[in-house]
Amino acid sequence: MNKRTQQLESEILKRCQRGDKAAFRWVVQSYQRLVFSLALKMLCDEEEAKDIVQETFIRVWQNLESYEPGRPFITWLYTIATRLCLDRLKGMKQLVPLAEDESMLRQFASSSSEGRAIENREWVAIVRMLAAELSTKQRLVFTLCHLEELSSSEVEQITGMDAKQVKSNLYVARQTIRKRLIALGYE
């Protein structure tokens, strides 16, 4: 995000803090897909992911005065969304891959076009196949670091883990997924 965009965002957030709903609509439209992406990859359910998006922005709206302007907004947003996802996962059953999930993964792996957008049902199937044997923390770190491509320092701020914990969880998650893919026949 360049400097001009940062200044614009800062001004919009100040208006939101003063109760400007029109300015907050801009925030929702700009960041709702990002939160949906995290929630879908964590929960593997579209409706649950939309609920998390709604709940996240309600929490943001209610706690805007606690937002520190010097801190990146996206990090703060991810933190709220992550905590809501972890709370929701506690109440959900453990992820169990379905029969159709493997065929979707093969279909994805065999497709040659790299720029093809992954559909939402493909995402659900792939994550259920690859993350079934990961712990919650490992799934979270793998999702934030690898799938969302956040930096290590950002992940530390969002999760509250230190650098060593992030690195360790990420390594274990990658190793587990590789073993899973190899077991499925992918070398």
Binding site: V28, Q32, R33, I118, L147, E148, Y186
Partner: protein, 216 residues
Amino acid sequence: MNKTDEILERLKGQQPVIDDPEELTERIMSSLPDREVPRHDRRNLVGRTLLYISSIAAVLLVGFFLYQNRPKEQPVVTQQTETHKTPLPEPQNAEQENMPKVVKKHHVVKSQTSNVTLANIKRDVEQLHVSSSEEPLLASLETERDDSPSPSERAEEQLEEEPVISPEKQALVDIFLAEEVLQVAYEMHEQTEPLRAYIATLEGRELETSHQIISF
């Protein structure tokens, strides 16, 4: 790159698409509760408002104070009187040195008649009336018509140098002044004959009967 790493690389950075983003936005916006303006913001707003009001009030007070204490203008007549004061002529002989104060004051008054109002003339006449002189008033007035130029002549000379009022008006003023003096003299029970003659010369006519003059 093996297949595993390829699959992992293809998963990087891709975000799922919301099938109906507008509907989700409206759903979110409609569920937002009303937010109250934070207390510290409200305090700042009130504080800033009070600051603006007090600043405006202070500016108005200073302006009002300055307006009240502005330097007041002097009346034009007083200024002109002061600027047109003429020094008393130096007496040429011993008799004139003994000229009473009332005459000297009369000289000053006569020389200034070109620029004074009737109110000032009356005031000067009152001064003449109050200040007591050793010699009778008429006798001292008579000395005006001796060798030395009369105050009216001096006033005329002055007017010639700096004419401010027309000769006609000057004459009227002289007449009025003399009549005032006559009135004062009458009140002091002095003989008025020489003065009436003086007034007659100013008016350019023969001396009238006394009752006609007294009756004015």
